[in-house]
Every structure is written in structure tokens, then in C-alpha cells.
């Protein structure tokens, strides 16, 4: 037989139990605290107004990162968007813009082209793409073997010795930045030239760009000029609605860009 006193005690006890946040029960994790205090978090900034579609970034990236030059794969690429006066949108990236854009006609693939007269263009521009080094990288979550992971400074890397080449991560990336490396037989992706940024250099694409359209910064450094642009100016990111928290920011992003 339950007394009223016992019943109220029980109700009160379970209410407190439910209201107590799970986090309060978590044992202090020094590793976690250390990660929050990491002094570096790499972020990228692209000024699409400055990009002229020369593709020197793509060329230097492929040579720097040993990506087979003539294979139609690349860690970074440049897209061209042409919007005509009748409201149609055309986009192309022949060979990832490795050789830039020398033709005014739009490549449709398989050697087919679409001609657009200059007077029909309403607006046209170039958008460089690369890995967004997401704060919530979906490609990392799906890896069944722990071959792809995020470092404390925010870069998503692929362990070439550990990758089994299943391709889940290639499917999971909403930005399509991952591909299969035909030589190493593993998943491959942009890592902001981790070997360069870790040794005090800029990524190859940043240095190769003659127009300063590509910039890299450390969002945790209050004196970083690039971080200050991202924090104080109008910038956008790609596919924000996916909740991946991408860390490549764009100046002059258009609604047509996907």
C-alpha cells in the first residue's frame, strides 16, 4: 500500500530526474575542453566578383596534390553560370575549368554545346567550389571504418591506409566534392592543402589566384583579416539548409548557385 507521502516523493523525484539535462551527468572530458579551446579553425573565403574563371587554381591544385591531370576529377573546380534575359539558367565546368573558359558557348557534355548570344545574357559569373570542411561533416559520419575524420583545426582528412574505398562518403557529401582516386583507390577530397597550411603556407589555389578571389583564414584568431570579413561583412554559404555548417564563405553568392 502506497501512502500519499510516498506518492508525492516519487512524483517529485522523477520530475527532477526528467528535468535534469543529460549534459549535467556527463563526466568532465578534458579532451573536449581542449578541442573547444583549439587555437585554429581554418575557414575559406571566396569573392565571386573577383573570379574571372581562369582556372589557374584548378591547375595548381591538381599538380600540387598529385591528382591525375587528364582524368576528369579534381579537388576544386570553377563553375560558370549564365542567366539569359528570358530567365533560363545555364551552368558548366568543362574539365572542372582546369584550362579555364575559352569558349563563350556552354558545354553540355559529350561534345555538345549551347550557343548563347552576348546580347541575350542578363548576368554571368564564375563560382569556385572546393571542400567546405563542414562543422558537421556528413561524409565523416557515414564512414564505416574511421578512415575519414576531422582534425581539431576543422579539416576533414582521408586516411589512405585505412580507407576501404566503399564510396559511402562520396554519396554522402551534398556538395559533390569527394571522388575516387584512381591511383590510390581511395576516397579523395580537398583538404585546404593541409601540408601547406600546417607549415605556414597558403593553399596552392589561394596563391595561384592572380585576382585574390580565394582567401583562407583562421576564424579563432581575432586579428585575422579574412576572419574579420566573414564575421563583419555580408557573406553566404552553400546549401545552408542541410545543417552541415559549411566553412567556405562566399561574397556575391547568387540564388542560382547550387
Amino acid at each position: 500500500m502506497m501512502t500519499r507521502r510516498d506518492f508525492l516523493k516519487g512524483v517529485f523525484g522523477s520530475l527532477v530526474g526528467v528535468a535534469l539535462p543529460v549534459a549535467a551527468l556527463e563526466i568532465a572530458n578534458p579532451n573536449k575542453l581542449y578541442a573547444q579551446k583549439a587555437s585554429t579553425r581554418w575557414v575559406f573565403l571566396v569573392d565571386t566578383y573577383k573570379c574571372v574563371g581562369c582556372g589557374l587554381c584548378v591547375k595548381s591544385c591538381k599538380l600540387e596534390n598529385e591528382i591525375p591531370y587528364d582524368a576528369n576529377i579534381t579537388r576544386t573546380w570553377v563553375e560558370r553560370y549564365v542567366i539569359t534575359k528570358d530567365g533560363k539558367m545555364f551552368a558548366d565546368t568543362p574539365k572542372g575549368a582546369r584550362d579555364g573558359f575559352a569558349l563563350s558557348k556552354i558545354a553540355l557534355g559529350q561534345n555538345r554545346y549551347h550557343d548563347i548570344r552576348n546580347e541575350d545574357i542578363k548576368k554571368a559569373f564564375f563560382v569556385p567550389k572546393l571542400c567546405n570542411q563542414c562543422e558537421n561533416p556528413p561524409c565523416v559520419q557515414v564512414c564505416p571504418v574511421g578512415a575519414t575524420y576531422q582534425t581539431s583545426d576543422g579539416i576533414v582528412l582521408v586516411d589512405r591506409k585505412w580507407c576501404i574505398g566503399c564510396g559511402y562518403c562520396i554519396m554522402a557529401c551534398p556538395y559533390g566534392v569527394r571522388f575516387f582516386h584512381p591511383v590510390h583507390k581511395v576516397a579523395e577530397k580537398c583538404n585546404f592543402c593541409y601540408h601547406r597550411i600546417s607549415n605556414g603556407m597558403n593553399p596552392a589555389c589561394v596563391d595561384a589566384c592572380p585576382f585574390g578571389a580565394r582567401m583562407i583564414g583562421n576564424i579563432r584568431n581575432p586579428d585575422d583579416p579574412i576572419a574579420n570579413i566573414i564575421l563583419t561583412k555580408r557573406v553566404g554559404v552553400l546549401k545552408e539548409e542541410y545543417g552541415t555548417k559549411p566553412q567556405v564563405y562566399y561574397i556575391g553568392l547568387d540564388k542560382e548557385v547550387r
Binding site: S60, N65, V82, F125, F126, V140, D159, H195, A208
Partner: protein, 158 residues
């Protein structure tokens, strides 16, 4: 526990021990959660150092080139092409001049057309660059036969 369940139970225990032993051998000691926790940091820690040690090809350091090629360095510095890095046309330096002793220069039309194929895209800076129609402007000639890439405005061809 002298009954029929004991023997299969021992077999299962044995299998678990064998699998754990194999795992101990093939999983490297530095495999574990990194700073990003189980969800994003589950990896072999040694791989970070492997990526940091990846070979650098592009120097992108104009001072490095100037030490020997000061004439070309000075010439391009007085031209609008100053924004184009040496290695954009001359290729990655690696350990030049030790290895390779000579860099291969990209003199292709394609290299120049990257910027100078006329595209009137006024919503990008491309429209502000002087451009040609590649099918119309001496299609069979290398650009450097008439234009000096180190001094495209006033320089003579080399």
C-alpha cells in the same frame, strides 16, 4: 555448470577472445577518438602527420625566383602581369634548380586564353580584361610569338 549449454558457451567465449586478439594486432595503437569525439574524430592519429608531410611542389615565393631570374622579375613587376605568379606559367618549382634543373614553360594558347578569351560577363571582373576571339585572332600562332608575357603592354616579343 555441468550441462549441455557449457560447451557452446565456451566456444563463443573462445571466438570472442580470438577476435579481440586479432583486433589488438591489426588496429594500430594510435587509433581512437581525436579532439572531435566519436562522431567526427574516430581515426588513426598518425595519419595527421602523414598529411602534414605531403610533398610541397609550388613555392609561390617570388623572392625565390628573383635570386637568379631578376631580369624577368623586374620586367613583370612593371607590367599588369605582376599579379600572375611565376609558377602559374613556369610550372611548380619543386627543388629547382637542383631538381628539376629546367622547368617546362606553358606557352600554349590555352594558358593565355584562360583570361584573354573575350567573355563579356559584366557581373564578373572578366569583362574588364582585354580579350580576343580565339577563333579569329591568329588561331595557329603561339601568343608569345608577338606578345611578351613578362611585359605585355610595351615590351617586345622575345
Amino acid at each position: 555448470m555441468r550441462n549441455h549449454a557449457l560447451r557452446p558457451f565456451l566456444v563463443i567465449i573462445g571466438m570472442v577472445v580470438v577476435i579481440m586478439a586479432i583486433r589488438l594486432i591489426i588496429v594500430p595503437a594510435d587509433f581512437g577518438t581525436g579532439d572531435r569525439g566519436y562522431m567526427y574524430g574516430w581515426h588513426r592519429a598518425g595519419n595527421e602527420a602523414e598529411w602534414k608531410a605531403f610533398a610541397v611542389k609550388y613555392k609561390f615565393n617570388d623572392e625565390y625566383c628573383r635570386d637568379c631570374h631578376f631580369e624577368n622579375y623586374d620586367a613583370i613587376n612593371q607590367s599588369p602581369h605582376v599579379i600572375v605568379k611565376c609558377e602559374n606559367c613556369h610550372g611548380p618549382a619543386y627543388d629547382h634548380p637542383a631538381s628539376p634543373p629546367k622547368l617546362e614553360i606553358d606557352k600554349s594558347r590555352q594558358q593565355c586564353l584562360r583570361c584573354h578569351a573575350s567573355l563579356p560577363y559584366h557581373s564578373s571582373d572578366r569583362a574588364n580584361i582585354k580579350g580576343i576571339d580565339p577563333d579569329d585572332h591568329h588561331p595557329d600562332m603561339e601568343c608569345s610569338m608577338c606578345h611578351n608575357p613578362h611585359n605585355p603592354v610595351s615590351g617586345e616579343s622575345k
